[in-house]
């Protein structure tokens, strides 16, 4: 009889129905980045003194990690900005690993040195490193990243990961001038040992989550894929229909007036300055707790549950989103509303258009229909999921 049982994290159900107080935590180590990507919703310059001086210090982050581990947390995601810009990254990484946390690192790989790759080789993160890729040629990559020399550093970082056999995956983005490189990107992705599926691509870019740069917001809007382009890209995945049927069978249904029906607040997201947020882009002061004043435990057990009860009051939201059955299919959420309009409950027209385009492709809507006006939506969803051999189990 074996005394020791091996578990993959996804099989990790030791709590026997009880949820841990905190299963995962996201920590944005910095908003600074060595890239200045044309579509980015958060980056500040790499040497920005104002950001640097306000960032959490090493001991404060260690305190958060320690409290997270005590609360049962198994995984920390280090993100940014570019997390590797922090001089104490290695120290924080090892500290997290020695607490028994798995580490997910989001990086552009430009600062993956021999030393960092060796660290990951000796003390594996326990999760694939996630590398953002901004192009498959120097010209295109640096047109996105707006930094001379970025492409060769990216290649060098990727090479370091490969040579040290550090498992990583890549993520891309959809921009018109990258279209001709899509095949090269997919071929590159296939060559990476840990890639076991088609790489994800950002295309419906978020606006600035600090709401700090109207000019950049205007240019980000111009970079977004149109609803039709989004559908064309999504449906190029041969598993799209099946995956959508599986998704719709469980999640599609009326949104109601409760703002947070997503997973926001079930983990914790910490911004670069020590604020706990329901999710990473959700930076509205109504939904932020300063961890210099409140413990992480109190934030997740008292503050977050109260925030999750917030209800929409915007008449436009109540007239459309609250009675729309495309919840789940649509990315409308308080964070997106915040980034677009500075409120939590303003319908985001762009996301609405994308969701409607998808719903039309799936046969859930006819041309010209608005989803909130459809009365027989349940029958339509049932027909769609049934055609894919599934049953519809609407969410509560």
């Amino acid at each position: 009889m074996p005394y020791v049982k091996k578990l993959k994290p996804k099989e990790f159900t030791i709590w026997k129905g009880k949820d841990p107080l905190l299963s995962h935590i996201d920590i944005e180590l910095t908003e600074r980045c060595n890239n200045n990507c044309i579509h980015c919703c958060i980056n500040q310059p790499a040497n920005d003194k104002y950001s640097l001086n306000r960032e959490m210090d090493t001991e404060f982050i260690k305190g958060i990690l320690t409290e997270a581990a005590i609360l049962g947390c198994l995984t920390v995601r280090f993100t940014g900005g570019e997390p590797l810009l922090r001089h104490d990254f290695s120290q924080l990484y090892l500290f997290a690993r020695r607490l028994g946390l798995h580490v997910i690192l989001f990086t552009n790989a430009r600062l993956i040195t021999e030393k960092i790759a060796l660290l990951f080789e000796q003390y594996p993160p326990g999760h694939v490193v996630e590398v953002s890729v901004y192009g498959m040629s120097r010209k295109s990559y640096e047109r996105v990243a707006q930094h001379n020399g970025a492409y060769s550093e990216f290649l060098s970082g990727v090479d370091m990961l490969l040579r040290h056999q550090v498992p990583f995956i890549v993520k891309g983005l959809k921009l018109p001038f990258l279209n001709e490189e899509q095949l090269a990107f997919e071929t590159f992705a296939k060559s990476i040992p840990a890639m076991d599926s088609i790489p994800s691509c950002s295309m419906n870019f978020d606006l600035r989550s600090r709401r700090d740069d109207p000019a950049k917001n205007a240019s980000i809007m111009k970079l977004r894929s149109t609803p039709e382009e989004t559908v064309a890209h999504l449906t190029s995945n041969p598993f799209y229909l099946k995956e959508m049927a599986q998704f719709c069978s469980r999640f599609i249904g009326l949104a109601g007036d409760k703002l947070f029906s997503c997973g926001a607040g079930h983990g914790a997201c910490i911004d670069a300055y020590g604020n706990a947020q329901l999710c990473l882009p959700m930076r509205s002061s109504e939904t932020v707790v300063n961890l210099k004043e409140v413990s992480l435990k109190k934030a997740i057990t008292e503050s977050f549950p109260a925030m999750r009860e917030l209800k929409a009051t915007n008449p436009d939201y109540l007239r459309k989103c609250a009675i729309c059955f495309l919840k789940g299919l649509c990315e409308q959420c308080p964070a997106k509303s915040w980034m677009e309009y500075g409120t939590l409950d303003t319908p985001v027209d762009y996301l609405c258009d994308v969701a409607h385009a998808q719903a039309r492709f799936l046969g859930l809507l006819y041309v010209g229909e608005k989803a909130w006006e459809v009365e027989d939506w349940k029958e339509r969803v049932e027909r769609f999921v049934d055609a894919q051999g599934l049953n519809y189990n609407p969410p509560n």
Partner: protein, 98 residues
């Protein structure tokens, strides 16, 4: 090296032991502990009772004696469990002899 009751074993520095919701979880820290780097390990009640006594002072025999008293079981059964668990943990590089 043969595992015997007069030896002292301690948790390896290459793993991290955590108690979460009363379950003992072993998280590999370095490469080569498991088949892949994202694995976690848990133990049954017997395993947990033994692991928590690996304090660097008690021999496996001392631990078995404590468990005989605690579980009201015959020594042979407990000794078998202690040696069985430690054998498995040594194979998995989760404990080392002191």
């Amino acid at each position: 090296m043969d595992i015997s009751l007069d030896l002292i074993y301690v948790p390896s520095e290459d793993v991290v032991a955590r108690i979460i919701e009363d379950e003992l979880i072993i998280v590999p820290l370095v490469a080569g502990i498991g088949d892949s780097d994202d694995e976690l390990y848990t133990m049954n009640e017997t395993g947990k009772a033994i692991w928590t006594r690996l304090d660097g002072k008690k021999t496996l025999g001392n631990i078995a004696t404590e468990l005989v008293d605690e579980f009201d079981t015959v020594p042979k059964v407990i000794e078998h469990d202690v040696l069985g668990l430690i054998g498995e943990l040594v194979r998995r590089k989760m404990v080392v002899a002191k």
